[in-house]
Amino acid sequence: MAVAPVAQDDEVAAARPESLSDLFWSFSLLALQGFGGVLAVVQRELVEKKRWLTLDEFVEDWAVAQIMPGPNVVNLSLMIGGRHFGIRGALVALAGMLTFPMVIVLLLAMLFAGISDEPAARGALRGLGAVAAGLIAATGLKMLPALRKNTMGPTACTIIAVLTFAAIAVARVPLLGVLLGLGLPACVWAWYRLGRA
C-alpha cells in the first residue's frame, strides 16, 4: 500500500454518528449489504452518503485497517466507532458489523447441512467456491496499482510478492515463517530506501 495522503487539517467530515444506536444500525445495514466482502459498501456509505469521513480520512484509515492484524472492515469499524465514542463506540460498531451477518451465515449453514447430501447442493457449493476463490484473487489484483508508487521499487516488490506466493501456495510454509522470513527483510529494505529518498 502506498503512503496514504495526509488529511488536510482544514478539511473535516460533514457529519458524525448521532448516538451509539445510530452507530450500531449504520454498521449493521452496511454489513448486510456487503456480499462477497464489505469494503466497497463501506466507501460508498460512510464517505459518499453519510459523510462521516472525508475521502482522505478514509484512505488513511483504510491503510491502517489493512496493515493491522485482524479483518480489515472489522478494524475499520473499531477505528471509526472509537474515534466518536471511545471504547464503547468501538465495541458497538464491532457488534453492528458482526451480529446480524453471523445469524444469517449460521442459518445458511444449517439450511445447507439439511441438503448437503443432494448432489445439486454439493455442486452449487462447489460453484460458489470457485467464484469465491476468484473474488479473493481479484481483491488482491485490485491492490496492485498501489505498488506502483511503492518506495521499495518495482523489482523488490515483484520479488517479494512472487516469493510470498511461492512460499504459501507451493511450499505451504506457515504464515509466521513468511512474515518473519520475508516481512522483516522487506521492512529493513523499505526503511533503507525511505532514508535515501
Binding site: 454489513a31 493491522m68 492484524p69 485482524g70 479483518p71 451477518p101 484473487a137 488482491g140 491492490m143 526503511w191
Partner: protein, 190 residues
C-alpha cells in the same frame, strides 16, 4: 464425522485461533491456509469439503469474510455432537481470532494516526504491501486447488479465472457471479 474433543482439545483449539489472530495481516482470509493445515491436515477436526464449504458459505452470505471462522468453529463443534458444542466452537473461534487483533488495532490505530509520517510506520506499510497482495492471490490458489479434486477441474479453474478477471476489470455486482456459480455447480457443470 464423529469426533471426541476433550476440554484440553478445546483449549488447544482456542489457543490456536488466539495465536493466529495477530498474524491476520491482510484480512482474516489470509489465515485460511494455516487454518486448513491445522484443522484439516494436522488435527483431523474438519474434512476438506467442510472446510471449503465454510469459506464458500461465508463468501456467499452478506457481511465480513471473517465469518468463515465462525463457521469453522461451528462445524468443528457439530462434528463432536449437538448444537451446544457448535455454538461453543463458534464463540471460541471468533473470540480467539478477534480478541488480540481488536485490542491491538484499537490502541495502535491511535498511535499510528499520531505518527503517520514516522519513518518506521511508513517502512512497515510499504513493506507489507506486496506481501499482503501475494497472500490474497495465494489464498485463492489454495482454495481453488482444495476445491477441484479430479472431475471438472479444467472448467472449474476456468470459472475461477473468469470471475477473477470480471471482478478485477468490471463493476458487475458480485451477487450475479455468486448466483451464476451456484447454478453452474447445481447443474453439475463445474
Amino acid at each position: 464425522m464423529n469426533l471426541v474433543m476433550t476440554p484440553s482439545d478445546w483449549l488447544a483449539f482456542f489457543g490456536h485461533f488466539l495465536s493466529l489472530s495477530l498474524l491476520a495481516v491482510g484480512g482474516a482470509i489470509a489465515l485460511a491456509p494455516d487454518m486448513h493445515r491445522y484443522l484439516v491436515d494436522e488435527r483431523l477436526w474438519l474434512s476438506d469439503p467442510e472446510f471449503s464449504s465454510s469459506i464458500a458459505l461465508a463468501q456467499a452470505a452478506p457481511g465480513p469474510n471473517v465469518l468463515f471462522i465462525a463457521l469453522l468453529g461451528w462445524n468443528v463443534g457439530l462434528n463432536t455432537g449437538g448444537y451446544g458444542a457448535a455454538v461453543l466452537g463458534m464463540l471460541l473461534a471468533m473470540c480467539g481470532v478477534l480478541l488480540p487483533s481488536t485490542a491491538l488495532t484499537y490502541s495502535a490505530s491511535r498511535w499510528a494516526h499520531r505518527n503517520r509520517t514516522h519513518r518506521a510506520v511508513r517502512a512497515f506499510k510499504l513493506a507489507m504491501a506486496p506481501i499482503v497482495i501475494a497472500l490474497l492471490v495465494a489464498t485463492a490458489w489454495l482454495l481453488a486447488s482444495a476445491l477441484y479434486g479430479k472431475a471438472h477441474a479444467g472448467i472449474s479453474w476456468l470459472l475461477t479465472l473468469a470471475c477473477t478477471w470480471i471482478v478485477w476489470r468490471t463493476r458487475i455486482h458480485m451477487l450475479w457471479l455468486l448466483g451464476a456459480g451456484a447454478l453452474l455447480g447445481a447443474f453439475g457443470w463445474v
